[in-house]
């Protein structure tokens, strides 16, 4: 167990962990606005940790990525999702299968599970202090999946997907010293466009079905 050991614990680790915790707290509330707020905070933590990584590894590309995260995700996507929520008038997600508090506690358990998983993986020597990033990344991915599974509304599905994607980014940042810059930017563009298109489709779902509860979209069946 390295991640929580007293000597490694630096500010960077705290921030990396904070992003996973923000995601877990996001699971606990059904208010879409608070969910988006938590998402925004989570990406802010990501942007900060990318900055720190840049400082530690002396890599210019991480600074650019951090800036892109901050402007595209923390500000751009959050505002866009707020706007959709407001336009559609979706305030609350009632949840599916699990009560929300239980889902939140489950995601804490998933964090432990993520820690166990990430300990199974080999770590690069020079990235050893960032091993906690693996835990946080896997935890974000699992939390994102849990979020998608326990929610009804289309907009929550998008948030869950974005959380998952954040986890993948964090994993890449801390486990493989980051992807090449142009790949990173391409991924950004794809995710950004995916969210924009999903937003448009959510509008259309609202328009055609008069709700955005995806569990009720069952007209296409075998």
């Amino acid at each position: 167990m390295i991640s929580f050991s007293p000597f490694m614990f630096s500010f960077l680790q705290a921030i990396i962990l904070a992003s996973a915790i923000m995601a877990i707290l996001m699971v606990g509330t059904g208010q879409i606005r608070s969910n988006i707020m938590f998402y925004s905070l989570q990406t802010l933590c990501l942007a900060l940790s990318a900055c720190f990584c840049a400082a530690i590894e002396h890599e210019l590309k991480h600074y650019i990525v951090a800036l892109a995260i901050f402007f595209v995700k923390t500000i751009g996507l959050s505002t866009f999702l707020f706007w959709i929520t407001k336009r559609i008038g979706a305030a609350k997600d009632l949840g599916l299968y699990l009560p929300l508090p239980i889902a939140m506690h489950l995601s804490v358990v998933l964090l432990v599970f993520a820690q166990i998983l990430s300990n199974q993986l080999p770590h690069l020597n020079h990235l050893q202090p960032l091993a906690i990033g693996g835990t946080a990344g896997i935890s974000l991915i699992l939390t994102g999946i849990l979020f998608m599974l326990t929610r009804r509304l289309a907009i929550s599905q998008v948030l869950g997907f974005l959380t998952m994607e954040n986890g993948i980014f964090l994993f890449a940042l801390t486990q493989s010293s980051g992807m090449p810059l142009f790949i990173e930017m391409g991924i950004f563009l794809d995710v950004f466009v995916a969210v924009m298109i999903s937003g448009l489709i959510i509008f259309k779902i609202k328009h055609s079905f008069e709700h955005i509860d995806v569990t009720l979209l069952t007209s296409l069946r075998d």
Binding site: F4, S5, F7, F9, A14, G28, L100, V108
Partner: protein
């Protein structure tokens, strides 16, 4: 010297804290508000008043209030809610939790004893809340105890152990969790609005609705002690979190503890100004957050130990 200072702060801080929270809230809401010393006046006033006891009540009513008071009076003297050693003796975390439960049990009994319907309402709500919040409270105390390898509160909050200085995350989560627990357990804002006087929705205020005069004074004092104690413990957790950058002089620590308690009071006033009371059925969702924080603290502590 230590005992004298401790006694003095135990007698002053709880009431000043209540007065301070009320004053701060009033200021935040653009009111003048009562003086910070108002709780003292209130208690003197209540002691001077005649008491009316319902004819239908038995001795259990007075006994319950008395037991409640005694529990808190004992706890405030033995729990390390300030940065020093308590005057009387050390308390184990489980004794702490069970004494709280005993106090609550007797106050619920006395609320039920008078036969007032509001008392029964409030008693049932109080029981539900404490039932929900207890796991979080235990977890948030167990986490530092795992870290320090002791279940004695005095040993846990002693600023001496080496580990404490390097594990901010455990302490900070435990502190946040305790603060959230305190909000619920003391029936403060998101769970219960202490300023409303609609008995149908109140929790704490309706419990003491039948008490008057000296009895009311005793339960008010108990409440003040409890508030100070919880905030104090929460501040101790947070201070341990940043212990690595604190001086070791005990007077400075004492001053910081008291300042911390009052700043949590300010935070409480702020929260009570901006938040609205939650629907009763939504309370478990709020309490779940304190449990989550407690879980984080425990996991982190276990991670450190392993």
């Amino acid at each position: 010297m230590n005992i004298a200072v401790y006694t003095l702060s135990a007698l002053l801080v709880p009431f000043l804290l209540i007065g301070f929270v009320q004053k701060a809230k009033a200021q935040l809401q653009n009111r003048v508000g009562a003086s910070v010393l108002q709780p003292f006046f209130n208690i003197f006033k209540l002691f001077g008043k005649n008491q009316i006891i319902s004819e239908d009540s038995s001795g259990l009513f007075r006994a319950g209030i008395l037991v409640n008071f005694c529990c808190f009076a004992y706890l405030i003297w033995s729990v390390p809610w300030l940065s020093f050693s308590p005057a009387i003796s050390s308390v184990d975390i489980f004794l702490f939790v069970y004494l709280l439960a005993t106090a609550r049990f007797f106050s619920i009994l006395s609320a039920l004893d008078t036969g007032s319907p509001f008392g029964a309402f409030a008693g049932s709500r109080e029981a539900t809340l404490s039932f929900l919040v207890e796991p979080a409270m235990i977890l948030s105390l167990v986490a530092p105890s795992i870290l320090t390898g002791s279940s004695s509160l005095e040993r846990i909050f002693s600023f001496t152990h080496q580990v404490s200085s390097q594990n901010p995350i455990v302490w900070i989560f435990a502190g946040i969790s305790l603060f959230l627990v305190a909000l619920t357990d003391l029936s403060r804002m998101p769970v219960d609005d202490p300023t409303t006087h609609l008995e149908l929705t109140m929790v704490h205020e309706a419990m003491t609705i039948e008490a008057s005069g000296r009895n009311l004074a005793l339960s008010e004092i108990g409440y003040a002690f409890k508030l100070a104690m919880f905030f104090g413990l929460s501040v101790q957790c947070l201070l341990h979190g940043i212990a690595f950058c604190l001086p070791s002089d005990q007077w400075i620590l004492l001053a910081m503890s008291i300042a911390g308690i009052f700043s949590l009071g300010l935070l409480l006033a702020l929260l009570e100004t901006v938040l609205v009371k939650l629907k009763w059925t939504k309370c478990p969702d709020f309490i779940a957050y304190s449990l989550t924080m407690g879980l984080f603290a425990c996991i982190a502590a276990l991670g450190v130990r392993a």
